[in-house]
């Protein structure tokens, strides 16, 4: 399957990607091609290897075999400089590890702006914080935020910085119904201009996706989407 209805810009291309862990095969001949912006949901059972796959796309883990192309550039997993440069273009939203707990939300965003070398104005920060109902929490230390507030604070970074690919691992965990709706609203807005790949169990998220990918299907046979 080739989803080229979102434009002709290749964001991610994976060819015959496999990962062997000792004697266990985690990923086998996995292929995927994502072009243009949109919300892609990666749906699958627990322990099927979804997070491992997303770790590889986030350039955190190396595959055993296979090829990967990001933003039309082949990735050389042995080239650490290339990996370090590309990791800055990818937002990886991973459970509760997105922010430094001892810092406030504002300080965290400042640190991320230093890492990505992207400046953010106070006006834009206030505007996006208001959308996520985080205006009053912006100067609160992350460790003092509730689970839902932390998720929203982490989501704030995705809204503020210009990432070429956004990877979300179970983003609706710890969120109540209202917050889920708010987040889905933000994702619907974001997907118009960004490419978002989300690993999720949530049917609500799946319903909002432009494309739903069954991980078991990807991992069993060669497939081009």
């Amino acid at each position: 399957m080739n989803l080229d209805n979102k434009g002709d810009t290749s964001i991610l291309k994976v060819d015959n990607l496999s990962l062997q862990y000792g004697n266990a095969t985690i990923l086998k001949n996995l292929s995927l091609h994502i072009q243009g912006s949109g919300l892609y949901a990666l749906h699958g059972e627990s322990g099927s290897g979804k997070t491992t796959f997303i770790n590889i796309i986030a350039l955190i883990q190396k595959p055993s075999t296979g090829k990967m192309t990001l933003f039309n550039q082949p990735i050389d997993f042995t080239n650490q400089e290339q990996i370090d440069n590309y990791r800055k273009k990818i937002a990886y939203f991973f459970q509760d590890l997105n922010l430094i707990e001892s810092l406030t939300v504002r300080e965290n965003l400042h640190v991320i702006s230093l890492i990505n070398e992207q400046e953010i104005s106070n006006e834009r920060l206030e505007e996006q914080a208001a959308k996520l109902k985080m205006s009053e929490k912006i100067d609160v230390t992350v460790s003092n935020l509730s689970g839902g507030e932390r998720q929203r604070a982490a989501f704030l970074k995705i809204m503020l910085f210009d990432y070429s690919l956004i990877l979300l691992d179970e983003p609706t965990n710890n969120l109540d119904k209202d917050n889920i709706q708010m987040m889905l609203g933000m994702l619907s807005e974001l997907k118009k201009t960004r490419t978002i790949l989300v690993v999720t169990h949530s049917d609500t998220v799946v319903q909002h996706a432009d494309v739903v990918l069954r991980f078991e299907d990807l991992n069993k046979k060669d497939q081009s989407i």
């Binding site: 770790n55 955190i60 370090d84 990791r87 430094i100 640190v111 990505n116």
Partner: protein
């Protein structure tokens, strides 16, 4: 580079831990500094005053058997390791009257060994008595063993040589031969030859004395050393120096481990933060570089305080010690501190790099994300 300041935030949030680390580094730096300084001073002291002190390199030995004099096998002694030369001869007794006061001195022949023992320069003329310098300027009358006046030339030595031979007098070979014929051998213990053993190096004295002792049976022969105790002083000096070095090495290792442990604790505290920074796109290389820079910046204050501390100590000592010594000590202290600072910087960078590389390895990150 903008990202240089990422860890400024962490410094603000973990100030107590960082301050503890800085204080510890200062204490450790000072401990190592003063330990090494103690070693240098002790080594200099032991080396100059004991181990290479020529004035301690001769051993005077007398030996008695149950029947009187014990005859040493001089050929065997000459062949012993570390022996440079020996003198084996009878003491000649001289009465010296100086300004009316009589003193009894033992006399030995003037030869290369005894010449070295009193650091005398040049040779003695015939029929000459060499007296300690304390007799110089006094009206001297010399009497032989028969208390008969002795007509001979008199010269003096300063006595900067061997400690145990500096109150002896020395006779030119012809005079010694003449006077030694008067000695009544075997009548009592007075007629016992003195054995002087000149060693190659002072530090060999303990080995020599031990080996020498083993040559005799205590029940048959009583060996008496004029330098008794000296061999223990030398041996103890060597041992104490070795122990000092061992102690410093142990201290250095302990200090290294304490600091390393404290740094690991700090990195463990920051572990979750490091993972967050990594997931937010910061490279391991940048994290290691910036974290080291933050710690190094903090350590700069430690180095300055250490230098000031030593400067204050130097100023205090200025009033207590001569200027020349203070200059020498000051120069050594600053040089040593600079070397220690460079070593400290290298060490801090090494432990940070090693630990953070491990923490930020792909295996570790993946394993933590999986858990």
């Amino acid at each position: 580079m903008k990202t240089t300041f990422v860890f400024e935030y962490l410094k603000k949030k973990h100030r107590p831990t960082l301050r503890k680390l800085a204080v510890l580094n200062f204490v450790l730096l000072m401990l190592i500094f003063f330990s090494i300084f103690t070693i240098l001073i002790s080594a200099d002291n032991i080396y100059k005053n004991v181990l290479t002190n020529d004035r301690l390199s001769m051993v005077l030995i007398n030996g008695y058997s149950k029947t009187g004099e014990y005859q040493y096998d001089t050929d065997k002694i000459k062949r012993m390791p570390n022996v440079k030369d020996i003198v084996y001869e009878y003491d000649v007794s001289l009465s010296i009257e100086a300004n009316g006061e009589t003193d009894i001195l033992s006399a030995l022949s003037f030869n290369p060994t005894t010449k070295e023992a009193v650091s005398y320069e040049g040779d003695l003329k015939e029929n000459t008595i060499l007296l300690p310098e304390r007799f110089k300027g006094k009206k001297i009358k010399v009497f032989d063993g028969e208390v008969e006046p002795l007509k001979a030339n008199i010269d003096y030595y300063k006595g900067e040589g061997n400690y145990f031979l500096k109150d002896y007098s020395y006779l030119s070979p012809d005079l010694y031969k003449k006077l030694s014929n008067q000695i009544k051998i075997g009548e009592n213990y007075d007629g016992v030859r003195t054995l002087i053993v000149n060693l190659n190096k002072t530090e060999d004295i303990y080995e020599f004395v031990n080996q020498f002792d083993r040559m005799f049976d205590e029940e048959d022969v009583f060996v008496y050393y004029q330098a008794q105790g000296l061999e223990k002083l030398v041996a103890n000096s060597k041992l104490s120096f070795l122990l000092l070095v061992v102690f410093q090495i142990i201290l250095f290792v302990v200090i290294t481990f304490i600091y390393r442990g404290q740094m690991h604790t700090l990195i463990s505290i920051l572990n979750r933060d490091l993972l967050s920074l990594y997931l937010n796109g910061m490279s391991s290389k940048d994290m290691i570089k910036q974290f080291y820079r933050s710690i190094d910046k903090m350590n700069l204050k430690v180095y300055i305080v250490a230098l000031l501390f030593i400067a204050v100590l130097g100023a205090f000592l200025l009033g207590q010690l001569p200027g020349e010594i203070i200059l020498w000590i000051g120069g050594t202290a600053v040089g040593l501190l600079l070397v220690l600072v460079l070593l400290n910087k290298w060490f801090v960078r090494y432990i940070i790099t090693k630990r953070m590389k491990k923490e930020l390895s792909q295996e570790n990150i993946v394993s933590r994300l999986r858990n």
